[in-house]
Amino acid sequence: MSVDYMPYVREEKLPHMWCPGCGIGVVMKSMIKAFEDLEWEPEDTAVISGIGCTSRLPGYMKVNTLHTTHGRAISFATGIKMHRSDKHVVVISGDGDASAIGGNHLIHAARRNIDLTVIVNNNHIYGMTGGQYSPTTPLGAKASTAPYGNLEPAFDLVKLLIGAGATFVARGHVGNGRQLASFIRKAFAHKGFSFVEVVSNCHTQFGRRNKMADPMNMVNWISDRAVSQKKWENMSAADQEKHFPVGVMFEDTEQAEYCERYEKLIAKLREEQPA
């Protein structure tokens, strides 16, 4: 089925500011597919971001959009969602934004099980600020602040979020847009905190320093390492090192959502003590 993207795009804001071939475009396309599929009306939807290349995405989307401070998008989204829990609230963020400066909000929103979807475009680098290493830069990879190779082990965002209590956790990648769109759609439809890591390419800042200056080289580097969770589990430890699992990695539909808990409390207090 063909997707009509334009109702969700601010056409007048194009062309976009991203480098040709940047993975963020695939994420945006997947999000719109999911919006359309779930029939989320633009005026009933909000997309919130922090700072970075990925965080410029809301500007191109014709929904309610808020471009906030570095790392803090989830906190703004929490206020919006709590006040209007009947609406759809999505956070789009980069790896540095979400898991370094914003890491605290990420784990606590997950723990709260508030009905937000957080999508992290993980391109392993700080793109906008000039290629500094991020919490997800692979060990040994080069960055503008790791000229001799990164000495810090990377976060596994999926494990981090499962550990933090997220009730839906998926990982996709920009080499498979169709699959990614299905993960994002499932995340949007999930009642509770949902998280999608998108393994993505920043050939400009990461690729260029790591022998993958061409976008397709970096996308292939990603696609070649992506395997299903099942396949990954059956791999030897040495093989696992060279791959990463994709799929819906965790799902719990039993746990009550935070805003629902709150609305229940309000209803109970009203009953006990009518205004």
Partner: protein
């Protein structure tokens, strides 16, 4: 919370803030535990869900400020409360609130600093932080009530000013006021006004979030109200989208200033005490002004003609009122519970033309009336 007849409540200042916030229509609170402001959060967590509002204890101060601004943009009347170190943390997102013009109220129950300082002791050392704390140019509205009844009314006024001028408003109290219990008579609902932000009522798809063609305060439309709009902490134009047009940015930043400085008749507030024939003038705010009033009274009993000007709105600083009050005074005295902050504004207000005596103190023990009296006697 005890009640002693005729509607008089005997409440600590922090409880007064929370009760007044709810009376002002506040329906959202996000905070983070910090002494000596925590009782505001306690009370909000108790009151808000009863009225259908929402309380959340965030994972940090920046998060609390972010949630408050988010809720505000979705249409809520939102409050957060903190103290010194927490205020320092909030500042980045507070600046975001100024930039996107999100109405909200931020309470700073001042304690000693810098750093962790004196968590359970008062101070007035965040006066300049309230004005200049976040980076960049912006106007500030900050209110500093001195009595519990006034805390109630100024909390309501803080919400009203935030709504009217579409910006964060800071309420400055301190540990003494926050923890001291004092009688308050909460006003009946019809005795005070509740201001709502001006709402855009045009076609949703023609909505411009920063349309200032009709005045300096852009009409507001909450998220999910038919329109789809954007805003950002980047300098932006009337569409809410970033701009680097120097001319536009300069005009827009001046507009922000005009919102406040062009409406001083609504924003300014000073109180006088025995000021009519005073030859010596005291300028003091908040809890220290209470000690100053006691000192004025005692000095008057000794025949010294001394009077007080007490800024209730501390930012914008009431420079014209201080000039009028101070220009013919033999001496001015500025007692403040810090090492000298408001005195700079007083000096400027009187064109550096009057002798000024500072009375300063830090360390957690408030300035006593006797210390201010001694200063009066010295210059009398």
């Amino acid at each position: 919370m005890s009640e002693n007849g005729h509607g008089v409540k005997f409440w600590p200042g922090n409880i007064v803030v929370a009760e007044a916030a709810v009376a002002a229509g506040c329906n959202f609170f996000a905070g983070y535990p910090i002494t000596p402001s925590s009782e505001i959060a306690h009370q909000m967590s108790l009151l808000l869900p009863r009225g259908g509002g929402h309380f959340v204890q965030m994972e940090d101060e920046l998060g609390a400020m972010g949630a408050v601004i988010g809720a505000s943009l979705a249409g809520a009347k939102a409050l957060t409360a903190t103290s010194g170190p927490g205020m320092s943390l909030k500042l980045e997102n507070l600046g975001f609130g100024y930039m996107v013009e999100a109405p909200c109220v931020v309470v700073n129950v001042m304690r000693g600093g810098p750093s962790t300082g004196l968590p359970t002791h008062p101070s007035q050392s965040d006066l300049m932080q309230a004005r200049w704390g976040t980076h960049g140019d912006h106007p500030t509205i900050a209110l500093a009530p001195a009595f519990h009844q006034e805390i109630f009314l100024e909390t309501i006024r803080a919400f009203n000013l935030a709504e009217q001028f579409r910006m964060p408003v800071i309420l400055l109290i301190d540990e003494v006021l926050g923890h001291l219990s004092e009688g308050v008579v909460p006003p009946e609902r019809d005795a005070y006004e509740i201001v709502e932000r001006a709402h855009d009522s045009g076609e949703p798809d023609k909505f411009l979030p920063y349309d200032v063609t009709a005045g300096d305060i852009p009409p507001f439309r909450p998220y999910f109200d038919g329109a789809t709009w954007h805003t950002t902490g980047l300098n932006h134009d009337e569409t809410g989208f970033p701009t680097t047009d120097a001319k536009h940015i300069q005009q827009d930043m001046y507009r922000h200033y005009r919102k406040v400085l062009g409406n001083r008749d609504v924003i300014d507030k000073v109180e006088y005490y025995m000021a009519d024939d005073a030859e010596i003038g005291i300028v003091s705010f908040g809890s220290t002004a209470r000690a100053a009033m006691a000192a004025v009274k005692q000095a008057r009993e000794q025949g010294v003609k001394v009077g007080l000007l007490r800024p209730v709105t501390v930012w914008p600083f009431p420079k014209d009122q201080v000039y009028e009050f101070g220009r013919d005074k033999k001496y001015l005295i500025v007692p403040e519970f810090n090492l000298g902050q408001m005195v700079y504004e007083v000096e400027r207000a009187v064109h550096f033309d009057r002798p000024i005596k500072r009375v300063n103190k830090v360390g957690g023990v408030p300035i006593y009336p006797s210390e201010i009296l001694a200063a009066i006697e010295e210059v009398a």
